[in-house]
Point group: C2
Chain length 304, copies 2
């Protein structure tokens, strides 16, 4: 089974509180790290959670509201002060480049590493990253400015060869990789042994979707069908629906509805308005519509 986890670095909406930081989450997949949004103080939260800065190579910024990127310039400055040489990939709206370059300029900072910008497409679902084990997609959300969510989806796992067949058919080591990928096998007498006799299914493809900020969107669920864990913002409780709709944010019921429509196994909520001192009622109200709901708090680490 792959390592696949999400750590909450910030659970607040636009205004942070004394205990809640602006949006940032760390996704780890087989110990490769992906930072999703980077609100003010994200680098301090990374430290608190003992995340090694040198292992972060990919940063995803959902949109150009400050509570999702004001921490990025500080993190990049720290990378540089720590002697970073490895390039950094930033997946973000194109305006991020001028914000960073302007601040690097006025602070007379010459980076010792390259920033590779990958600008987001806000119109459709797009594959923006892949390695051998993982694909990352951006997809459009429904907010007051162009905003993307991000889907982290494992690639198909290789099938598992049954131990019992190895000696029975005298399968050479050189054939293993092909059989794991679905090849049939021809034994020494010329008989074709179908793959499903030789193997069992690989581990299920786990997935995590990050949806912030967004009002309820009917199309959203189509981008993340069958997701294992969906983070959906939940800025307001149901009695503030009017405010939520005006600001193009979601309520408890909106988040639950999207989780249901997507067929998600679990829902994670966050991005609470600073007005909520106690967040337990937000959890309870969401759970009344979608039982398998978790609530984001700083430092929480969830296995996907």
């Amino acid at each position: 089974m792959n390592e696949f986890s999400v750590t909450i670095l910030g659970s607040s909406s636009a205004i942070p509180t004394s205990t809640r930081f602006p949006s940032a989450q760390l996704v780890s997949h087989n110990y490769k790290l992906f930072l999703v949004d980077c609100g003010e103080g994200a680098q301090i939260q990374l430290r608190k959670n003992q995340i090694r800065f040198s292992k972060i190579h990919h940063i995803f910024i959902s949109h150009m509201h400050g509570d999702h990127f004001f921490g990025l310039i500080g993190l990049i400055s720290t990378f540089n002060l720590l002697g970073r040489k490895m390039g950094l990939h930033i997946y973000a709206p194109m305006e991020i480049e001028q914000v960073l370059e302007n601040q690097l300029h006025v602070t007379q900072t010459k980076l010792n590493f390259a920033i590779h910008y990958h600008f987001l497409d806000f119109n459709t679902r797009s594959l923006i990253f892949e390695n051998k084990e993982l694909e990352i997609y951006s997809f459009p959300l429904n907010h007051s400015i162009p905003t993307c969510g991000f889907l982290f989806k494992e690639k198909a796992h290789p099938r598992k060869i049954k131990k019992s067949v190895l000696s029975k058919y005298a399968i050479a080591d050189s054939k293993f990789e092909g059989i794991k990928q679905g090849d049939d096998f021809i034994d020494t007498e010329g008989n074709l042994i179908p793959n499903d006799v030789l193997t069992t299914a690989g581990n299920p493809r786990k997935s995590f979707a990050y949806c912030s900020d967004t009002a309820y969107s009917k199309t959203l669920s189509s981008y993340i069908k069958g997701v294992d864990l969906v983070y959906h913002e939940c800025s307001f409780m149901e009695d503030m629906r009017k405010t939520a709709e005006e600001k193009m944010h979601a309520t408890t019921y909106d988040a639950a509805q999207v989780a249901k429509e997507a067929g998600a196994k679990r829902l994670l909520i966050g991005h609470y308005s600073a007005r909520y001192k106690d967040i337990k009622p937000i959890l309870l109200e969401t759970q009344s519509k979608f039982a398998n709901t978790l609530i984001a708090i700083e430092g929480l680490k969830i296995e996907v």
Copy 2:
């Protein structure tokens, strides 16, 4: 006696740690608030210390290194979200304007209050603010880019009229204000009573100086003679003097030397390199040269 205090919001140098934030201090004089530097996370530290955001009207930025201003855009955004209408005065290098305006632009933020920029002069001591009770001066420091310190100095307090003289000379209420300011008095028989017979000296003029970032500067003390409390950066201990000098930062002995030369009553040190897990040795080394030294930690409030 006037209320006059300094609260530490950030004690770290350029790289924050899990517990130490970048530079920011809050000066309160008769409950008027002055924010000095605004590193990343300053707004969270203000919350933790229960400072009312609506009472902050003046912000001072010493120089354009990110650990001294990366928190400013977030604080301004929060001011706006909280419905601020009152103008905000920012005393800073001129580059601060483009940094803020650029980020307000890309985040499509229309502020509901005015920002009044006051650009610093890095060549000489300058009066940059005054009210009835307080003067604030900027003065040049000795850093790798143009940098100012700030001196908060109370105006002369009115002299105190001796109770015994009120009935003796039948002094009318209307004369009180003048006598407190140093006027002599002419009694009903035409005799001139000198002011020093009528009054005793007012409370002493307290002062606080903020010096960060700076290498040792021989001229620095001339700007802050007789200061009650001087904050002087102390990024490194003495065994790192070479590094300190290369980076144009101060050591323990440098901070102590400036405090001595200025005739300061007390020295406050901060801006420690992230390499120091334990800051007590920094305090002890400074105290070996200047006994009356305090050490900055987040949340510490010092009466001037």
